[in-house]
Structures are given as C-alpha cells and as structure tokens.
C-alpha cells in the first residue's frame, strides 16, 4: 500500500529556507517610517519553510503521482491530448519572448508583434476567417468573447436578440458562455443520426435568435453534414453562426469553418495546435471573425504599418478588453512553432491520422461496447457502457479500471445524450500498437464485467490512492489546509 504524500505544510522546520537574495544595496530606512504600523500586516504569514532540496523532492514525488501525455495514452475525448513537442517549450522560453513586458514601446517588441501578426495570418488561413484576436485565454474565454462580439454586432443594428441556440450535444461551456453574455439558451435536439435535427432547428429559429453555437465535427465525433443548410437557415433569420473549435483537429486542411458559413470561430490552441494543457491550463482561445464582425474585436489589434508593427486601439465599436493584455502570448508562441513545423501538408496529415486512428479504434471497440451512432466518425467517437451497466458496471467503473492498465480513461458521461458515455479521442500522435493495447484493455474489462464484475467496480487497484470519495469532499468541503485539523 502506498503512502500518503505529506503536504508542504507538514514538511520543513522554522527558519529553513529555499532561496537566496542579494544584500540590500541601497540605504535601508526603518520600515515603520515607510509603512505606518496601522498599515502593516498583523496576521502571521504561515508559508512553508523548506530547503530547496526538500522542495524538489516534494514536487518530484507529486509528479510521480500524476499522469500526463508524456506518461502514457490520454484519449480524453474533446480535449485533443496530442503529444506536446519539446521545441515548443524551448521557443516560448526564449528571453526575447518570455521576458518582455506588455507595455514596452512598440519599437522594442517588433519581433513579438511580428509573431502575433504572422500567427494571425496563418490562423486566418486555417479557419477561413478575416481577422483573429489572441486575447481570449482559453476556449471558454473565446466563447464568451465570441458571444460579446455577436451581441455587439446585433446591437449596432439596434437589434436586441435574446436567444442563443446550442445542440443538446454541446459542451457545457457553450450555454455557460452564452449566459455570461446575457443570452437565454435554447437547446436543439439531435436526430437519430446524432446530428442537429434540421426540422427542430428550423422551428426554433426566429428573429429573436442571435446565434447558433455549433461544434463541427460535433461532440459525438460526427461531421454535421447539413452544415450548409444549417448556415443558410440561421442566416436567413438574421442570426449568426458560431464555431466551437474544440474539434478542429479532425478537419485541418480538409475544410474550413469560414467556408462552411461560420461568422465567428474560436480555437483551442492547447488542443489543435499541440500546446501542453499544463495540468488544467494555460490554454489559448483565439477568436476569428468574418469582416462584418471585425469592428467589434477586442483592443488592441496588431497592424503592420510603414514603420513596422503597431497597436491599433481606436476601434470605436470594440467590445473593449477581455484580458489585461494580449492573451496567453506564451501559448501562442508554442502554437506558432507547431504551425511552422507542420506546414499545410503536416496539418492535413495530422487530421487524417487522427481520423484514421479514431475510426480504427471505433471499429474494433464496437464489438465489445455499444456504439449508439454507428457511422463514419472524425477524430473521436462515443461508445456506451449501457450493456455493461446491466451487469452493475458503469462507465465510471470502466474508467477507473483503465487506470490499472496505465491508460488515462476517455471522457465519461459526456455528451449528455449518450447513456453511460465513454468519449474516445486517440489523436494522431498515437501509434497503432498503443491503440491495439488500449483496445485489448477495454476488451478485457468487458470480459471481466461478465466474469468478475467486482474486479472492475472495485478498481483502481494499482494507483497511488484507491477510489476517492467525491461525495464526502463536496459535503464537507476542505479546500484549504488547517494544521489544527
């Protein structure tokens, strides 16, 4: 049985330190004269006191209790956990990128502005849009920005539309982002194919609809093949079409949201463009728009002038700012690096391999699991454990059992329209052997479900901790360590 890892606060000793600073080289004045006593901190500053070596051992121990893409297969659907090239880390750390301040005079940061400018041109090309802002710091932030843009666009025409439509298979962030932009949400059901129900969409459309938010391929991994009809229907009532770019990886170089009729697009650079997910972030959620929405983009934009690059601030119709500066620039450097490495042919090949890997795995897994939508998939697919559920083994149990095989499980219980959903996205950076091993593990789990279900329902068995009690954590929340318990 493995041990608990002590908390930082349980390590070290008073007076121990993990830093060194130079001697103060200016005349020292009494602190009380610079900072009146009534403004000084009274509460004890109770931070860890550890040596540098202890600190490193602590975090090294923690890192061994964590699974990343570098540790093993990570087919977390909708998250595109592809390999994160090491060159990305190196370029983003160049002092000329990592150690520049956002308020420096433009003449001292021409290289950074040029990089943003080029990245914008290439992203415009990949998406088929006219302008792109890198200010949104993540996908959901891009959605919020996109919704603000759509609102500003309609308002500029004195049009106060109130409704945003999203399919019932949409990411939770879609309705949440639209609500943050003041919209009421209406769900569009999916049809038997797993695609947007065109009839239901037509019924829901009215002159009160500001936009339809759509992920294409959708969260079932299926391409919305009626996309051109959908676009026409939405535009016919004066609505706009919003593209959730979470799944762009499947179609890079094969089709572009701009050509499908989308007016606003967000991308997740941390998915499609190989930047690491950082244990939850930072990501980057650039938003691309067609010309008619460009006047509303957040300020500032990078422009190329006669004397080099400059910031364009005077956009009277701009929605303002959504992040303090220019977004997660360091992540954009990594994505740009990836684009430079891949080129058009590389991106197209990546999409093809992602789709091939997903279809290969799907065809094999549908023999042991239900496949509710049995058709050609794109970069991901959703199987259901409803068959296994009848034996008392849930999708969550299967996920936990996969941990014992060294795999990160698929996304579970999403999309909401599939019972006991397991959403698998292998990505293009996995080898055939890995896919085969993963399929074998899931097949064995299906077999054990019949023979020894308790082996699965009691999983995981080999992880640093066994199954954790989430109910207890939520019922009596402890979100901050107290040494007094």
């Amino acid at each position: 049985m493995s041990k608990e890892q002590a908390l930082l606060f349980e390590l070290g000793a008073p007076g121990r330190r993990g830093y060194s600073l130079p001697q103060l080289d200016v005349p020292e004045e009494p602190v009380d004269e610079l900072l009146p006593a009534r403004m000084q901190r009274k509460t004890r500053l109770d931070l860890p006191e550890v040596s540098e070596g202890e600190l490193v051992r602590h975090y090294t121990a923690l890192s061994t209790r964590n699974h990343g893409v570098d540790s093993g297969f990570y087919p977390l659907g909708s998250c595109t956990m592809k390999y994160n090239p090491k060159i990305n880390e190196e370029t983003a750390r160049l002092p000329g990128f990592a150690f520049i301040h956002p308020c420096q005079p433009a003449e001292s940061i021409q290289g950074a502005m040029e990089m943003l400018h080029r990245a914008e041109l290439y992203i415009n090309e990949v998406t088929g849009m006219d302008r792109t802002t890198f200010q949104p710091a993540a996908g959901a932030h891009g959605e919020l920005t996109g919704m603000m843009l759509i609102r500003a666009y309609h308002q500029s025409k004195n049009d106060q539309r109130k409704i945003v439509l999203a399919p019932d298979s949409s990411h939770g962030t879609n309705p949440a982002s639209a609500a943050m932009a003041g919209y009421d949400i209406k769900e569009i059901p999916s049809d038997k194919r797993g695609l947007v129900d065109l009839e239901a969409l037509r019924e829901a459309l009215s002159e009160d609809v500001a936009a339809l938010m759509l992920t294409n391929p959708n969260t079932l991994g299926l391409f919305e093949e009626d996309i051109l009809e959908i676009a026409t229907a939405v535009h016919d009532v004066g609505g706009l079409l919003y593209y959730d770019g979470a799944n762009l990886n499947a179609i890079m170089g094969h089709a572009r949201p701009g050509d499908m009729g989308f007016d606003v697009v967000h991308l997740n650079l941390h998915k499609t463009f190989s930047t690491p997910h950082g244990g939850g972030g930072p990501g980057s959620g650039p938003v691309g728009v067609k010309k008619h929405l460009a006047p509303f983009l957040p300020v500032p934009l990078v422009e190329r002038g006669e004397n080099g690059f400059y910031w364009k601030d005077d956009l009277p119709q701009s929605i303002g700012k959504v992040q303090g500066f220019y977004g997660n620039f360091g992540v954009v450097v990594k994505a740009y690096t990836y684009l430079m490495m891949m080129g058009a042919a590389g991106l197209r090949q990546a999409a093809e391999d992602a789709v091939l890997n997903a279809n290969y795995l799907m065809q094999r897994l549908k023999k042991s699991y239900d496949l509710p939508y049995d058709r050609l998939c794109k970069h991901e697919f959703v199987i259901s454990a409803r068959k296994q559920k009848k034996k008392g083994v849930s999708a969550a149990d299967i996920a936990k059992a996969l941990l014992d095989y060294g795999f990160h499980p698929p996304t579970v219980y999403f999309p909401l329209i599939v019972e006991e959903a397991l959403m698998v996205e292998p990505t293009e950076t996995e080898s055939k052997e890995t896919l085969d091993r993963f399929a074998e593990a899931l097949e064995e789990i299906a077999r054990l479900t019949e023979e020894k279900p308790e082996r699965i329902t009691s999983a995981p068995h080999t992880t640093p901790v066994r199954r954790l009690d989430e109910v207890k954590a939520a019922r009596n929340p402890s979100v901050c360590y107290r040494s007094d318990g």
Binding site: R41, N66, A112, A140, G330, S431
Partner: protein
Amino acid sequence: MSGGRHYLPLTDAERREMLAAIDASSVEQLFDELPPAIRLKKDGLKLPPPLSEMEVLSHLGSLAAKNRHLREYPCYLGAGVYDHFIPSVVQHITGRSEFYTAYTPYQAEISQGVLQSIFEYQTMICRLTGMEASNASLYDGATALAEAAVASCGATRRDRVLVSRAVNPYYRQVLQSYMEARNFGVEEIPLAEGKTDHAKLETMLNQNTAALLLQQPNIFGLLEDMDGVAEVVHRYGALLVISADPISLALCRAPAEYGADIVTGEGQNLGNPPSFGGPLLGFFAARKKLLRRIPGRIAGETKDREGRRGFVLTLQTREQHIRRERATSNICSNQALNALAAAVYLAALGPAGLREVAGHCLQKSVYARKNITAIKGFEQAFTGVHFKEFAVKLPGSAKDLNRYLLEHKIIGGFDLEPHYPELGPAMLFCVTETKTREQLDGLVEALEGWL
C-alpha cells in the same frame, strides 16, 4: 524529412493496414460526408512550407532577437505585470512533464500530483489574503476582478458595482466588458490625491450596490486607507472586493484584517515570467460564506476507500460541465501551471523570503523615488504610502522619455497620461528587488540627461 512528421507515428504500411481493417479504400473516403463545396484540395491551405526543427528554432530565435528583453535592459514597467526574480527551482518543477502535459484532473486517482499541488496553492493564497477559500486559478488579475464583480452581483442579487478610478485601467476595461455583457452596471469613484475619494464613495453607495472594488496598492502604487471602508460597504449590504499585489501582502495588512469579502489579484509576480502579458495568473479567494459562489475549479481534501488522504475537484455543481447555463462561470481551462509556479515560488521563499522581497521593493523604490523626484522638473505626483510603484509628473511626454531611455538601454515606466489625462505628462515607475543600486543610479543619470 522536414516538418512535424516525427510527431506522427503511423507508417504508410500501417495506414494501409488500418484502412483495410475498417473497410475503407482510401483516406479520402474518411472525409466523404464533407459537402464537396467546402472540401479543400490537397494544397488548399496557403501556409509556409514545413520546416525542420533546426530551421524553426532559428526562425523563432530571430523573431525573439528583435525584442529588447528584461534580462538585457533594466525595466521599470509594472502596472499589472512585474519583473521579480524567479528562483531556478520554479522552472525545473513546472518543467516536469508529468505536470505540464496533463489536463484538468478529472481522474483524481492518477492526478494526485496536480490536485495536491492545487490544494497547497489554495492554502497559500488563503494564508496570504486571510481568506478561507480559494479557487485553482483564473486567467489573470483583470478577469479575476471581473469574475468577483459578477459573483458579488449573484451573491447580493444586485446589479451594479462601484469601482475606484485608482484601479488599473486595463482591469476596468475588462470589468466593463464582463459586466456590460450581463447587463450589470459599473460606476467609477473619482480620485482624490491619487486615491479613492472616500467622501464620494459614501454618497455613491446604495441599496443596488453589489460590491465596492478597490486595488491595493492602487494603480499609482499607493496604499489605500482601508480603515472603516468595509464597515460602510457592509452597512449597505454590499461586498468589499480587493485586487491585491500578493507580494505586498508579506508586509501590508492582509485584506481579511480590514474586512474584505473577496480578494483577487495578479499572481504572475509569484514565479512566472512577464511573457508579454500572458500566461498570467488570476487568483481568487473569498470568505467561507461565498464558497459556492466561487468561479472555476476548486480542489478539496477527501479520503480513498482505504482511508488514505487524497484530493479531488470538488463543488463541481457550480461549474459549466454540470450546471451549463446556470454555472457560476463559464471557465474551464484555467492557469494551472502558473498556479503551480506560484506555489513553488511561495514555498521556496517562505515567510522570511517573501518579506525580504517585499522589503527590498519598498526600500529600493523609495531610493529611486527620492532620487528621481530630486531631478528638476520631475515631480512626485502624489504623497502617501507607496509599495513598489510611484507616479512622477514629467517635464515632457512619457513617449519621448521612453524612446530616449530605450536608446540608453533602459526600458522606462508606464505612460499614465492616456489613462489619466488630468495628470498631464506622467510616468509610473516600478522598482522591484531585481534592480541594483547601480541600475537605479543609471536611471537617474539618464533622466538627468533628458531634455
């Protein structure tokens, strides 16, 4: 072979084998359902040709080389992004790929590393601010303040907030976009001598006010006088929201001491490089009573089935993947790796180190302020208690001065005039522990040589 093909393990033979296994005759067939009108040709994308790793490094290197950076030139810019020393240990920990190649720890049993590190980070943020709960991070200090305003409206069921004009102008712009989108109102409290006008504040508070938003130290580097503020705000049933510089909290009153309800701020300065303004780190901490209003991920302690301590994402019913349009926020990806850096930084420094850093900022900025304002034509804009930034009225435009300083291999301060035209030409200087006396004397010398 050039290009990122080395990220793609499938060989042509394997591709054929796999296509055969799924009864497809060609890869093209896998894209059959795409309408022909939108299908791109093989060379449909106009992008530069793929490059090798060597070529890409050289290209990015040459772009980076066109920038003057903070390790090359001393930089006196602050205003939300700060040049503090980053101990080597920080990058070595955040560079461990078990951390940085993972995603949100949905599967707790194989994510104890990230989850425990978040729990430790949350604890350190609570201890710095005096709050009882913290989330796992938000995008930056600006969005953290905006989220706090939105959360305050939810908690009080009111629809407007008051924000001081002494709050960072970029933060106020972000606040404005977030609040406007929800049809909430923002009113600005005017300045009095570089600080929030307390007399005006009292007259502006009313039964519709959800929160008062202040920055500490404020945009001019001045400490706001917080005595009695919380009492007045609470009398109207509103919340006190503070955007604090976490390093200042080693010396200055913890916001809990003066009655703050929510404390947000920029955590970039805790072990993260400036990175041209992103990725940054928004922190968000609150009183226990507001726990369920907090946006974003929260790690919580629990036990496994054998009684071992472990950590999970908790209170997820606040979040978008469960609550959808009724979530407290839409945030999904956050700034986890930057939060990890902050935790490593805070643990490396400990209480003594953080006090030492804060003390050096205080002492060195006083030294710089005295010497700069002793130059003819350079006038201290405001009197009061400063931490590491101070505003100076200039005898000429800040733009010109910065251009001049750049020629002298110095990155000057923040131009205040576009944001506070009433000041006339004025510059905000930021002096942290990274500046040596020699550099500060060099700055003064350069300023003397200007005009």
